[in-house]
Point group: C2
């Protein structure tokens, strides 16, 4: 077996056919051949061109079939309609991977979509993995392979980039060259006909040269695989994602350009969190983090030292440190303070942020930075400079740039100004030390490093909570409802389903007449709630079908009659099975909702009922399955959690019972893919020891073949 990973044929092919190879400068087929040659690809390159016998000095072939022997990979630069035959011929020749640079597939509409399916079928037959279509191609610098039509070959380094936008790739390449950022892999995924982020992350997690993975994402197709793959990678390597199309306007723009429908942003947020992916929200961060993570050592913690020749910038920097959750201002050791107080002028501030004063030259920066790097209380260093003359700035920048080669703690700089700073900025660009145009950006970047360090050091999440239930009973209930052509379950059916998974529901029974109602109520114990029993009435309260707080035989009897009469009058055609009697339970109103997302599966939402969810939107969201830790954190992270914890002299709520209930309803959604939506609203949560009750459940199914 030559390959150990399914993507090895893509990343390390021994031979490559370029279909549509060209001698015409500027054409895609020209650029791909040129880049393969220029990047030093060591295996045979077979240009395929119908007319030219030679392409860029290499012997060319009229078709893939004419290539002697076998090939490992085919790169397609021919128009879309020719792609199926190219893939077919490549398969015949033994190719196990294909890069379809060609555009004109699903992004242009239905015909393109059909063409994609056709290509997919052919590739499946030959066991080929396909990248694209509608992409820039890929680069593996370690394999000396640049199979893209980009204008340059990136230098070798630690960054792997996966992008759904070719143009973003091009900009990143151009920027990276200028900022001394090198790549391990560079993958433009295009329409993701076959290979998608999940496959690539799974490959990159064991790729030693890859120090970090950055993704530009507009839409994820296989959500669960994506999360699974990323979880495997994110404890050892930072994996960052910029998710574009966060907003409605953005999603609209994304769909017009890729044809993909973007999911709700909160779901992506939960998915990234589950996967351990660091989300970046702005393109500037995308670039800033790329440089920092690939060029700097990781900090041990979040303690920051600042040196500045400008008090004002030191103040702004201190604000920025306070804004970053993982950072704090370092307190220097006695040694550092002694040294700074001895060597800096009396007017300088030797406490963090250190102010070396406006007339500082290299020496003061040098001794301050060296002291900070030697100080065990300091995890990272920010160097800030207001103009002190272009020559001096350049000399300080050069010293820092040289220092950058042997750093054991991250150092970032911030040269604030214009012309006086240009030479210094240029020197730092070429160095390992990232320079920023504001202290805030510099410090946010350090915050990102600290966040990853904290995440990597956090204990492994435990296993997902597994709850047992009577699966047969639930399956039967679901099949029953579906067989009647319904998708919504009635309240009683909902209760039955919850009971099968030991979700506590208030005792309940259906009474056919008033005597039976009274007998049931007495046995349950007062107070009780009466509700009309009918799967055909949705808004029971509006129909006069509910009576709460019944605390005597008389009131049960009267209200039984009242409900039956009123509902019959208002909905004469509805089937009414009688009146359901519920034992009335007490507690705080909670909402737990589960919604099956097409991409990521069941998404669990939690919040306090009433105004907290409806008005304050104070909810937490996670993607199933949930660990104990997930459940606890989703309970504690809502802003109104102190209410449950027992704020203002109240007794704490029964959080154990709440956790258990969340775990059980989540298990139902996991076990039964037909459950589209399951909302417990309200869940009534008692005080410690009193338990939690699912008082009403809205359950919506989806057809089995959806």
């Amino acid at each position: 077996m030559r390959w150990t990973h399914t993507l090895d044929p893509l990343f390390t092919p021994a031979s490559i056919a370029v279909v549509g190879a060209s001698n015409k400068e500027g054409k895609v087929g020209y650029l791909v051949v040129r880049n393969l040659i220029a990047s030093g690809f060591s295996g045979p390159i077979y240009p395929v061109n119908r007319k030219d016998p030679e392409v860029q000095g290499l012997k060319a072939y009229p078709s893939v079939a004419d290539i002697p022997g076998t090939i490992d990979m085919a790169v397609s630069c021919v128009p879309a309609r020719f792609v199926p035959s190219v893939i077919e011929e490549a398969g015949e020749k033994g190719a196990r991977s294909g890069v379809i640079i060609t555009a004109g597939f699903s992004e242009v509409g239905k015909d393109g979509k059909d063409l994609e399916r056709e290509v997919e079928d052919i590739a499946d037959r030959y066991g080929m993995r396909l990248l694209g279509p509608n992409c820039l191609g890929l680069v593996n610098t370690q394999h000396h392979m640049n199979a893209t039509f980009a204008s340059r070959t990136p230098r070798e380094g630690g960054l792997a980039i996966i992008s759904q936008s070719g143009a973003v790739c091009v900009s990143v390449l151009d920027w990276a060259e200028q900022n001394r950022v090198g790549f391990s892999k560079f993958i433009s995924v295009g329409n993701k006909l076959d290979i998608e982020e999940a496959d690539l992350i799974d490959y990159l997690k064991d790729d030693d040269p890859t120090r970090m993975v950055m993704m530009y994402i507009e839409h994820i197709r296989s959500g669960r695989e994506f999360i699974e793959a990323a979880r495997g990678a994110t404890r050892t390597k930072p994996v960052l994602a910029l998710k574009a199309g966060r907003t409605k306007a953005g999603a609209k723009a994304a769909s017009s350009h890729t044809g993909a429908i973007a999911g709700a942003d909160s779901v992506y947020e939960a998915a990234f969190r589950k996967a351990g992916i660091m989300r970046v929200r702005r393109l500037t961060e995308f670039f800033d983090f790329a440089k920092a993570f690939t060029q700097l050592p990781l900090p041990r913690g979040g303690s920051v030292a600042i040196v500045s020749n400008a008090g004002g910038f030191a103040v702004v920097s201190s604000d920025a440190v306070a804004d970053e959750p993982e950072l704090r201002m370092a307190s220097f050791t006695r040694d550092t303070l002694d040294l700074l107080s001895e060597r800096l002028p009396a007017e300088a501030n030797i406490y963090n942020p250190v102010d070396v004063l406006g007339d500082a030259r290299l020496e003061r920066y040098q001794l301050s930075i060296e002291a900070m790097l030697a100080d065990d209380n300091v995890d990272s260093v920010v160097v800030i400079m207001a103009p002190v003359g272009a020559t001096m700035v350049a000399s300080i920048a050069q010293w820092i740039a040289d220092l950058g080669e042997t750093l054991e703690k991250p150092v970032v700089t911030c040269l604030m100004g214009g012309a006086d700073m240009e030479a210094g900025i240029r020197i730092l660009r070429e160095s390992r030390v990232p320079n920023f145009d504001s202290p805030e950006r510099a410090i946010q970047t350090l915050g990102g490093l600290a966040r990853f360090v904290k995440q990597a050091a956090s204990p492994e999440p435990g296993p997902p909570v597994l709850m047992m239930g009577d699966r047969d009973a639930v399956q039967n209930a679901i099949d029953d409802v579906l067989s009647q052509g319904r998708l919504s379950m009635s309240e009683d059916e909902g209760y039955e389903l919850l009971r099968a998974y030991d979700v506590p529901v208030p005792p309940t029974a259906v009474a056919k007449d008033a005597d039976e109602a009274v007998a049931i109520a007495r046995e349950m114990g007062y107070p009780v709630v009466l509700k009309v029993a009918s799967s055909e009435i949705a808004h029971k309260s509006d129909m006069g079908g509910i009576a709460v707080g019944m605390d005597s035989d008389g009131s049960v009897r009267d209200n039984f009659h009242y409900i039956m009469r009123t509902v019959r009058q208002r909905m004469p055609r509805a089937r009414i099975d009688g009146v359901t009697i519920h034992k009335m339970v007490k507690g705080r109103e909670i909402i737990v909702g589960i919604n099956r997302n097409d991409t990521f599966g069941p998404v669990v939402t939690f919040g306090l009922g009433g105004i907290f969810v409806e008005i304050l939107k104070d909810v937490s969201t996670r993607i199933a399955p949930l660990t104990r830790q997930d459940i606890r954190s989703m309970i504690t992270e809502i802003k109104s959690f102190p209410i449950l914890a027992g704020a203002r002299g109240q007794r704490p709520a029964d959080l154990d019972a709440l956790e258990d209930l969340i775990a059980r309803v989540t298990q139902i959604a996991i076990d039964f893919p037909q459950v589209q939506e399951l909302e417990v609203n309200p869940l009534l949560l008692g005080e410690e020891g009193e338990g939690a009750w699912a008082v009403d459940a809205l359950i919506t199914l989806r057809g089995s073949d959806e």
Copy 2:
């Protein structure tokens, strides 16, 4: 009268003495003389130097007294201890303004502070206005006067900058030169011994060449004057402020470098809001807005058109537009769509964001941008470019730069990349069109322009609400309490004070014995609350001194005895006046608090009581006096406002009564400077028509001489 504004002698002196003028390159006294000469100052410059008879070719004088005739302004570059005599001599010579560049005053401690007071007294005697000490000096480009020791003279333009940090000034100058941003005035305020932001804004509001004012602020001294001056300016000119020391860490850093104590950030937030000042939170925005506001025309509204050669960046840009409250994506007119569909390739996206595709050259950008500028539905344009080769980028940039000279709508660009973009970025820097390193920054800047346009177009705020009250009664009550050596008012004293300003309080009376208590309760009507009447007992509830919900003669009688007995047992030495009977009122709990801020005066805070204030921190804050509009907006802007508006089927609260009550308690704080704190907690707010009641008031005074 030569001067019409008190700061005219500072901005347009006819003659200047430079005390401490020097021939030694690099010294402050050298640089100031050099800058005055280089900037083309047209009046006489008198260098003062003890030894040299000539400084930089100008006749020098051994002392200010030796200068022939009179002078308008003196610039001090001599050590701090000589400054008092310099100011004295300058005053004698008729100077009406002084610029004290010299450091070593209040920023170094008490001695320096004393020296400042001494200098202030001398200046007062001569009616001189002083800038500094511990500053960089000032520039008035229109007066051809650079009285700073900065390394360059800024070009003429529309930006006035006021900065509390000299180093920030230097960085801004360096940046501005590179980015073609010119200045009208440039003022480094230093320690603000005399002249502060309020004076300067008041001057700049009528200074025609000044198109916008930007401030770097660490601390404001005269808060009310600051707000007043800014209100006068901000409807016609954008006034922006970066407030450093927002956070605890930042404030600490600021105090170590200027000796100023920063106020709570929410108070500054309220002050900027009242003043119409646009707050910038990051240094990058400070620079971005400076360029945009001085170089671009203002947009008519918030409708944005985007053109990009990269779909990915178009998506990110659409997200960024959605993130800006004042912006939205423009919908093109039919004409624009027709033109774009005719002239752009079929695969291009002609709807906003327009995608001109990766192979776009100048022509597609040109026709798209021209169509957008001609489209009445478009207020501003964002041009985004991924690399298309350095030469092509430069040619497109040049076309946009030329366009920039005649724009009637703002255009911003975003060249995303590295080396390929450098020439283009350089061209745009020199142009009026700001270029940004990310779409988010470009669009945030447009958001800033739109925010100003909206603010300038909003109706003038009405007059502050004025409430009448019995001032004598309140003054007597306050004097009484102070004369007893107390600073806290008792509950009854608080009620009395509130009643004097017609703030509704529940009917209340003190009963000496149980019979009287019953009689009072009957007259008020049940239910009532009983509270021990004593100004010496703070925590009445903890002492068993409160009984609520009394609804019968018997319960009043029993609880009267119980309270008297329990409190006497627990606090045998406290003076007890009996038991206060309160009519029990109902409603939602609200908190209205007023706290007198040393800088800005009474600060009013509003929120729903209980968890909303304590746990969710859902409050709004304004600085008194309040207009009707202020009161309304502070009520409606809290997140929990829907609860008052009548969410979830409840009746709306009595907002009119609430507004009135807020206005009345605010008036008390305005009328009586001795009121340090006045908190109505709870205020009970009934439903529409039911009124609002101040049920408890905590009033704290401060000594009259504070």
